[in-house]
């Protein structure tokens, strides 16, 4: 919980930094703050405390998700140094990101639907602005506008759902609601189910599950690359954490009424984005569709074991975030200042900079789920969870879509190693080399020694 306070203070500090002339040191300061916040949240491990009149609840679930969000944010600040240094409004951008992180923490630790709503809105409103932070770019403006319109619409659904559930159960507190649902399982009014459905729509919009994913490729593609990296890692972790907490914990007693919907969405989310990604010729859009596709595997875990999937989901999200951050870091270096991320831009990257090409290859292999990398273990855990519960057909479908995934991830690899380019070699700064090195190491460590993390997660 202290972590949340640290993050909010950092956000305010960023705003004040403009006045007190701290701009030069701001990013360093924020990164130090993130390390401290991560340390604070890890120290809370094993405690399960309510704070702010039961508005938030930091159990091991919330703590592990918060730790993941903070760690991913740390690496994000590291990779996107130039997003702050090269452009105006450095302090505002930094503050918006920090508030978005605060919103993300609220989303994974809420115990009250009002807090959930606040978290989602803090996160989303910051993101609407950040998506359009490249003011000169037409695509960035389009992304912001589209995201704002669609996002507000989804929030409307969510709010209506919350209202209906409040009407049916008389509480915003999810513990109370869960208890009420269990005890009145036969006498819930029809509009309660309508509320669940509306919330389902609102939240699956946030995690960009098909058919509520249409905004994602355009927004991911149009936003500045660093913001896309933030959205597809930190934001995705928070959104999925919130979704899982709401539906596995609060609405579990009525899960027979919504699980079929999720099953259908799982199938759609596995098939459609993976197939669409094949036809993309822009690496950023490939990553955008792949990020939607990965939601399908996460949903498969929820379908397979609604109450016991948190460890698997967290491992999957960690593996996915590390590999995505790695991919986006390389993408950001390669696209350069003009922001061109067409597939041709990657031609011959192996000749231009073997280190970058090898790192991106490792990221792609991990995202594709090739052993012994982190992504493989994520997929393995999801598949084995589903096989254990007897969802053989869904697993075979997911295996099929993984193969499609291999095809489009390898398109990038083939371009880097096979095609030729006449561009000069691509120098990389030491700081970026270091972060790439650490992320590559993490991809290997999570894949080779997943036991460390799995044992801790299954205990929680």
């Amino acid at each position: 919980m202290n972590a949340l306070i640290v993050i909010c203070s950092l956000g305010i500090l960023s705003l004040v930094a403009e006045i007190v002339n701290l701009k030069k040191w701001l990013t360093t300061f924020v990164m130090m703050g993130l390390v401290i916040a991560t340390g604070l949240i890890v120290m809370d491990w094993g405690t399960a405390q309510f704070y702010f009149s039961d508005m938030v609840f930091f159990d091991n679930f919330a703590i592990s998700f918060t730790a993941l969000i903070l760690t991913a944010s740390f690496f994000w600040f590291w990779m996107s140094g130039d997003y702050f240094s090269n452009q105006p409004h450095k302090t505002d951008r930094s503050a918006l990101i920090l508030f978005a992180i605060a919103g993300a923490i609220c989303m994974v630790s809420f115990n009250n639907m009002a807090m959930l709503f606040l978290g989602i809105e803090i996160l989303s409103i910051s993101l609407y602005v950040l998506a359009g932070s490249n003011k000169e770019s037409f695509n960035s403006n389009e992304a912001a506008f589209k995201y704002f319109i669609m996002g507000s619409f989804a929030t409307g659904f969510l709010l209506m759902g919350i209202a209906l559930i409040y009407g049916a159960t008389g509480s915003f507190n999810i513990t109370t609601i869960a208890a009420y649902i269990s005890s009145h399982i036969d006498s819930l009014p029809g509009f309660f189910y309508a509320g669940v459905l509306l919330m389902l729509i609102g939240m699956t919009f946030k995690i960009s599950a098909v058919p509520f994913h249409f905004w994602a490729p355009d927004v991911y593609g149009g936003s500045p690359t660093t913001i896309t990296a933030f959205m597809s890692t930190v934001v995705k972790v928070a959104a999925f954490g919130a979704f899982y907490k709401m539906f596995s914990f609060c609405f579990y007693p009525v899960h027979s009424s919504w699980v079929l919907v999720i099953q259908i969405m799982t199938v759609l989310t596995l098939v459609i984005p993976n197939i669409t990604a094949v036809y993309q010729n822009n690496v950023k859009r490939i990553l955008a569709y792949s990020s939607v596709g990965h939601v399908g595997y996460l949903l498969l875990a929820v379908v397979a074991n609604t109450t016991g999937a948190s460890g698997t989901i967290l491992f999957y999200l960690t593996a996915y975030s590390v590999a995505s951050l790695l991919a986006f870091t390389v993408l950001h270096v390669v696209e350069g200042s003009e922001g061109n991320n067409a597939l041709e831009k990657f031609n011959g990257l192996y000749k231009r900079n073997p280190w970058l090409a090898s790192s991106l290859t490792i990221a792609m292999l991990s995202l594709a789920g090739i052993p012994p990398l982190a992504g493989f273990f994520g997929k393995y855990m999801v598949f084995s969870l589903a096989l254990q519960q007897g969802y053989v057909a869904l697993v075979l479908l997911a295996v099929g879509t993984s193969l499609v995934g291999v095809y489009y991830y390898f398109k990038v690899i083939v371009a880097m190693f096979f095609k030729d380019s006449d561009e000069a070699t691509l120098p990389v700064s030491l700081s970026i080399q270091l972060i790439i090195g650490i992320l590559v190491l993490l991809v290997f460590l999570l894949g080779l020694f997943p036991d460390w993390m799995i044992t801790r997660l299954t205990v929680s």
């Binding site: 192996y350 073997p354 090739i370 096989l387 193969l403 083939v414 997943p450």
Partner: protein, 490 residues
């Protein structure tokens, strides 16, 4: 511990190559692979000829999921390890006349490949086996992608996705069996055997097909072979050698270790279909080989024909079938390596692989021609060459299994003779033409590769007993495991 050394050493050498990027990566890699060979020979000397896995190491890798790092060596594994460790130095030596760019990466990938192959042949844990199985795919993919020939982008991707599809099926089957193991579940091979044998006939049938398809794609067996001719043709010579001489043995080894004892009922119910597919593949590939114009492609098809015989003989589940498969794997590995090397030598000097443009090499390169004749006779399984022992055992087991299939398989030896002799006629004999007139005979380095191979071809043909003895107990063990179970349910 020696098993761990065999796994760790090539990996370490590869990492050193990646990091240090020494100027003479070739020599470095050659020395590393010779050390590996020495270690494997030491293992062979200490080996006891029993069916019990030896030199075993078993520690927890992922305790919470019941996954062990469990490796061990029995006779079947040992022969394949020896095949790998003997051929890799030759493969590296065969590349000495070439200069690949980024050569430290090239040789590093070959050594990682060696590590993964030895891992596949020694793993005694289903999950570990799968990891090594996939790991073997990655270096060979990059070897083909970076240093391959025309159109390699599309061809290698097809190869990768094709084989990955098969292995994912295998993973699903393994995980399914994993959940049938008692208690907190384990991937230990013995536990998986019990779980597999305890499954219903229907489940065993499904698992049989999931595993068989994975292995059939790797070998490849008809109709899962469509990736193979293109990939073999487009890969750089050393890549083709790795693929054909060693990597396809992964599939055969998988059949022996991870399918026959795992689902005996599945094998009993469906083995006949698999044998028929293998025999169809033999005839089909031989017929295509006869009309091939590209020398390298011809060898690729001949490899499908040979591997079809191995699979068919193996699936009869008799001792002579499995022993024949073992010896034939070694023989095929050596012969196909030599054939691809000869193709490489010819195409390097003449800049063509088209048989119709070649001719008359015999007149200008007697040493090469002699070697080619010996390798060719080995390939058509003439007595006293290595090819004879294996084919004899395999066809014998197949005739006992089903006379007609045995007869058809025997006929393909004649087809084999046709395409090999036709190749000889087109490339070697006849009039020397403009393309081949300036052909030079074998260089010293080439002799260093080919002469030992010739010796091996004869040695294995004349006195195969020591090799057969190594795997005898293990093969008998596999057959016993299978038939004991088959008897118990009768």
């Amino acid at each position: 511990m020696i098993t761990v050394f065999l796994l760790a050493w090539p990996l370490l050498a590869a990492l050193l190559l990646f990091v240090l990027k020494p100027g003479n990566a070739k020599v470095f890699a050659l020395v590393a692979s010779l050390v590996e060979l020495a270690a494997s020979l030491m293992m062979a000397v200490q080996f006891q000829k029993t069916a019990v896995p030896q030199f075993d190491v078993n520690v927890y890798w992922i305790k919470s999921l019941g996954i062990h790092f469990s490796v061990g060596v029995d006779g079947i594994s040992l022969l394949l390890i020896l095949l790998t460790t003997v051929l890799v130095p030759f493969i590296i030596l065969s590349s000495f006349s070439k200069s690949y760019d980024k050569q430290s990466t090239f040789y590093g990938l070959i050594l990682i490949m060696q590590m993964a192959l030895i891992g596949v042949f020694t793993a005694l844990d289903g999950f570990l086996f799968y990891i090594f199985w996939e790991l073997a795919l990655i270096p060979i993919y990059f070897i083909c992608l970076i240093w391959g020939g025309e159109n390699r982008g599309v061809i290698t991707l097809k190869f990768f996705i094709y084989t990955l599809a098969g292995s994912l099926l295998m993973l699903v089957a393994l995980v399914y069996l994993y959940f049938q193991t008692p208690g907190t579940h384990t991937f230990d091979i013995e536990a998986l055997y019990i779980a597999g044998q305890g499954s219903t006939d229907y489940e065993q049938g499904l698992i049989f097909w999931a595993m068989f398809v994975a292995f059939a794609i790797k070998m490849p067996v008809f109709p899962f072979h469509t990736w193979q001719p293109d990939t073999y043709t487009t890969a750089p010579t050393q890549g083709t050698m790795l693929l054909s001489a060693i990597m396809l043995k992964m599939g055969i080894y998988g059949l022996i270790r991870w399918m026959i004892p795992l689902v005996p009922i599945g094998v009993q119910d469906w083995g006949f279909v698999a044998v028929i597919l293998s025999v169809i593949g033999m005839v089909y590939a031989s017929c295509i080989a006869i009309i091939q114009k590209d020398f390298k492609r011809l060898i690729a098809y001949s490899s499908i024909a040979h591997v079809g015989l191995i699979a068919a003989g193996l699936l009869t589940i008799t001792i002579s079938g499995i022993q024949g498969a073992m010896i034939q794997m070694l023989s095929h590995g050596i012969l196909v390596f030599a054939l691809f090397y000869i193709v490489d030598i010819i195409s390097d000097r003449t800049r063509t692989r088209s048989l119709s443009e070649l001719g008359g090499i015999r007149n200008v390169a007697p040493a090469l021609t002699t070697v080619f004749i010996i390798v060719m006779l080995g390939t058509v399984a003439l007595p006293i060459t290595s090819g004879f022992v294996g084919e004899f055992l395999l066809i014998r087991s197949l005739v006992e299994y089903h006379f007609m299939l045995g007869a058809i398989a025997g006929l393909t030896i004649i087809l084999g003779a046709i395409y090999m002799l036709r190749t000889f006629q087109k490339a070697m004999s006849g009039e020397t033409n403009a393309v081949t007139s300036s052909f030079t005979d074998l260089t010293t380095q080439e002799k260093w590769v080919l002469y030992p191979i010739v010796i091996l071809i004869f040695a294995m043909g004349i006195y195969p007993a020591p090799l057969l003895e190594i795997s005898e107990a293990a093969s008998a063990n596999i057959v016993n495991l299978f038939s004991a179970y088959a008897d118990s349910i009768k």
